[in-house]
């Protein structure tokens, strides 16, 4: 479970995240949605501890990320906007590198790599170097690498960016599997179709503040909209 409590962050005098409070619970997919520049990526970076909070508190499974950043990170797997693969390393080497960095014993890591290669349907590219991977393959590799130690919480920044229909569906299936396994999944997105298809709870952010939160159906009801997109436009206007 991820709890964000009154998060504040400013850059060069500009308040990017302003008293933002929400929580993402276990066994659910929570979507952080907002227009470009609304502070979604900054919020995720505050949650993963890559940016320091000006004010507020982030707790990952109850662990305060400011007091015990390493403990919080151990319970968190994150997919960043840039994916960031190493072109000269194979899929298997990527998974091994991150598994070892995350302190997994060798025997356990071997089994986990086999499982992830199957789960992400990556057997064919297991021993291929990442150079020349398609966007879908790059995304799958980055996500598999992020959750190599089976963390309870999974954070994804715009995961569907640049994916074709097939890869986007595969991603959706994976996220639903994580939810069904009781994981806490938090993703940011500005694609309303993706959000309404996959998210159980939606947190709408505009100008660094939470303007609404609830299930897609609740948000549509409260703003008298026929679609989530309409509700989103209404709420962020």
């Amino acid at each position: 479970m991820i709890q964000a409590d009154s998060l504040r962050k400013s850059f060069a005098g500009r308040q990017v995240v302003d008293a933002l409070t929400f929580s993402a619970v276990d066994g659910a997919i929570t979507g952080l949605v907002g227009p470009n520049g609304s502070g979604k990526t900054t919020t995720l970076r505050l949650i993963t501890g890559l940016l320091r909070l000006d004010e507020g508190r982030v707790a990952v499974d109850g662990i305060d990320s400011a007091q015990d950043p390493i403990g919080a990170r151990r319970r968190l797997g994150a997919l960043t906007d840039g994916l960031g693969n190493y072109p000269r390393l194979t899929t298997r080497e990527h998974l091994r590198y991150y598994g070892e960095l995350r302190g997994m014993p060798a025997a356990e890591l071997d089994g986990r790599i086999r499982l992830l290669l199957d789960l992400f349907n990556m057997r064919e590219i297991a021993d291929r170097r990442a150079q020349g991977f398609s966007q879908g393959e790059r995304m799958k590799l980055a996500l598999a690498r992020a959750i190599v130690n089976d963390p309870q919480n999974i954070v994804l920044d715009e995961p569907a960016n640049g994916l074709d229909v097939g890869s986007a569906r595969a991603l959706r299936t994976l996220l639903e599997r994580f939810r069904d396994a009781g994981k806490c999944v938090l993703l940011s997105s500005h694609l309303m179709a993706e959000v309404s298809a996959v998210c159980d709870t939606v947190v709408v952010v505009a100008r660094g503040k939470v303007v609404a939160q609830g299930s897609p159906a609740e948000l549509m009801r409260s703003s008298n909209a026929r679609s989530l997109e309409e509700a989103f436009m209404e709420l962020t206007a």
């Binding site: 890559l50 960031g84 000269r88 080497e93 590198y97 070892e100 995350r102 302190g103």
Partner: protein, 251 residues
């Protein structure tokens, strides 16, 4: 058994660096060019005086490509952010990278000395100095390895892209190159204060070895300690720089 994070990073960087064949080839060119030039000029009485400059340069060129790829490159391809999200102290990540850079820098120095050894036996230059002098040269140049690795890493952490990193590293190369050459033209006398100046101290001692003089062990230790200290300072500064949000996320 859990592998310490710095060792995990070290192994990955070495593997990644060894697969970058083009960079390896360009770094290796520096290693054989210098000694070969010395061999070609063997009739010149000052041919061996070129060796110190080339030896010092290869400590830096050996470190350059991997330092650039493992820091500025890491940021450019977007892999720095996920790397920093691992539950690992920042100092471990930096230390592992630095150690890998040291391995490549050391390989550069060793290869240069091996080619120098071959040149020594292929030419009458072996009448000027004994092969054992090359071992002493290794002892003098060895502390330049952590120094070059630390400074290269610091510069590549500051640089936003590998391209920017390359231009800074090119300027940095002037330090061993100019020290190596100018100190031959304006030979300052080796004394404790000179030995303590990184690069200059090494240059004066390497130069003395090329003239067949025996090494001054106390000054060798002093120059080594100063170079290693400066390298450690660069390592600490790199870790500090990486704590800056501006550096991690660009400026």
């Amino acid at each position: 058994m859990k592998t310490p994070p710095w060792l995990v990073v070290f192994r990955k960087e070495v593997l990644d660096g060894l697969r970058d064949h083009r960079s390896l080839f360009s770094a290796m060119m520096f290693c054989w060019l210098g000694p070969l030039l010395v061999g070609l000029l063997w009739r010149q009485p000052t041919a061996l005086a070129l060796l110190p400059a080339f030896l010092m340069v290869t400590a830096f060129t050996g470190a350059m490509n991997i330092a650039n790829d493992s820091m500025a490159g890491e940021r450019e391809r977007g892999s720095l952010e996920p790397l920093l999200m691992n539950p690992v102290p920042l100092s471990d990540l930096v230390f592992g990278k630095w150690l890998a850079i040291c391995a490549f820098s050391l390989s550069g120095v060793l290869l240069t000395l091996l080619v120098a050894l071959a040149v020594l036996y292929a030419t009458p230059l072996n009448r000027s100095i004994h092969a054992s002098a090359l071992l002493w040269m290794l002892a003098v140049a060895l502390p330049l390895v952590p120094l070059a690795a630390g400074v290269d890493l610091l510069i590549c952490t500051f640089a936003r892209t590998p391209k920017e990193g390359n231009s800074y590293l090119g300027v940095l190369l002037l330090a061993p190159m100019l020290t190596g050459m100018l100190a031959e033209f304006f030979p300052v006398r080796l004394q404790a204060a000179i030995a303590a100046v990184p690069l200059l101290g090494q240059q004066r001692m390497l130069s003395a070895l090329t003239r067949g003089e025996s090494p001054h062990v106390a000054w060798l230790a002093l120059s080594g300690a100063c170079a290693v200290l400066l390298g450690a300072g660069a390592l600490a500064a790199t870790t500090r720089l990486l704590r800056s949000e501006k550096v991690v996320f660009g400026r």
